[in-house]
């Protein structure tokens, strides 16, 4: 028994255990997603997060220890963002004809995301730093955190709101667009990237390659627009 305890102490101190657990949890989430007929309601990220959170909680493992292993997966977000240039390049023919619709959808999608979040939060009695933390939640994490700090929000709260926005977007986007009868993959992908950043983009790639490419552009452009507009909106509101 003490051998097992020793092994646990040894493994839980290094990155291997939680790195393996992260990949395994996602593999289980992805298998569940496929088993459910690729239903948007069984989001692989959500399944993996639930499994890992339950494991951390039941073993009393702090998030910092977990992240010591998971950081290797987290780091790949950088190269993955750079790699979004590939589908952009492959779809460059489609891009040219979509420039004007993209600019319009970017402005409207970005403003609606920021203003409606603040309006609903206000209606529910949120004020001050908590309310401001909502403003950049549709932008990709690194931009949203920076913006939150600049406008007087709480960056750690914004980090959580950004991830939740992505998961909500990834879950609702397919049923919503099917209900609206939208069959244009460029429009579906682009608006998803603007409203639900990288997690929405990952969902778009699961559905259609063109949608994924346009989601990547939407995410990148909304990162830029949120960085520019959020400070103005925050100053105008408060």
């Amino acid at each position: 028994m003490s051998d097992l305890t020793d092994l646990w102490i040894y493994l839980s101190a290094g990155p291997l255990l939680w790195l393996t657990a992260t990949v395994l949890a996602y593999a289980i989430g992805d298998a569940a997603f496929r088993a459910a007929g690729r239903s948007p309601w069984v989001n692989p990220v959500l399944v993996a997060v639930a499994l890992l959170s339950a494991t951390l909680w039941s073993t009393g493992t702090p998030y910092q220890t977990y992240f010591g292993g998971a950081q290797f997966v987290h780091f790949l977000l950088g190269p993955a963002t750079v790699a979004l240039a590939l589908p952009l390049w492959a779809n460059r023919g489609l891009l040219r004809s979509a420039a004007l619709p993209m600019v319009a959808a970017l402005l409207v999608g970005s403003l609606v995301a920021m203003l409606s979040a603040v309006a609903v939060g206000w209606a529910f009695g949120l004020r001050g730093a908590v309310l401001l933390s909502l403003v950049p939640k549709s932008a990709t994490s690194p931009v949203a955190l920076g913006v939150s700090e600049v406008i007087g929000g709480l960056p750690t709260l914004t980090a959580a709101l950004v991830i939740l926005t992505g998961i909500i977007g990834a879950v609702v986007v397919t049923p919503l667009y099917n209900a609206l009868g939208i069959t244009d993959w460029r429009a579906r992908g682009f608006a998803t990237g603007v409203a639900a950043h990288g997690i929405g983009t990952a969902r778009a790639f699961q559905v259609h390659e063109t949608a994924g490419a346009f989601a990547g552009i939407g995410m990148g452009l909304n990162a830029l627009l949120t960085a520019l507009l959020a400070p103005l909106i925050a100053r105008w509101l408060f």
């Binding site: 319009a104 549709s138 609702v172 699961q206």
Partner: protein
């Protein structure tokens, strides 16, 4: 694959450096994406080098958000205090932004004579 990694990481490194040096309010990787696009425009052959590795990473993009997702659970106490208001704000604003964006895109595309699937209208 090695050259793909060199190019992907190199673009990210260059993006991070430019963002820091010139205090640009964009994440380094987003500037790295713009740089990679520039490389592809100048040297289209790079596509064949980077595409296999890059597309493998993109095909598993969801996996990369799992560590940050677990981090949300670590903030549950903050979220719990304002839970209902924050959750309502997130759900409503995300659904509205998704719908407003896609409808605006289609409105402008239709005005330009593009059909429901994005091609020329029949």
């Amino acid at each position: 694959m090695i050259w793909a990694l060199v190019l992907l990481l190199g673009c990210q490194l260059a993006g991070e450096s430019v963002a820091r040096l010139f205090a640009i309010p964009l994440p380094g990787p987003v500037l790295g994406m713009a740089l990679m696009l520039l490389l592809l425009v100048v040297r289209p052959r790079i596509y064949e080098v980077v595409a296999p590795t890059g597309q493998t990473i993109l095909a598993n993009l969801s996996l990369l958000f799992v560590p940050a997702g677990v981090g949300v659970v670590a903030h549950l106490d903050t979220l719990g205090r304002y839970g209902i208001g924050l959750l309502a704000a997130l759900v409503v604003s995300t659904v509205l932004a998704l719908a407003a964006g896609v409808l605006t895109f289609r409105l402008v595309a239709r005005a330009m004579g593009q059909g429901p699937d994005g091609g020329r209208a029949p």
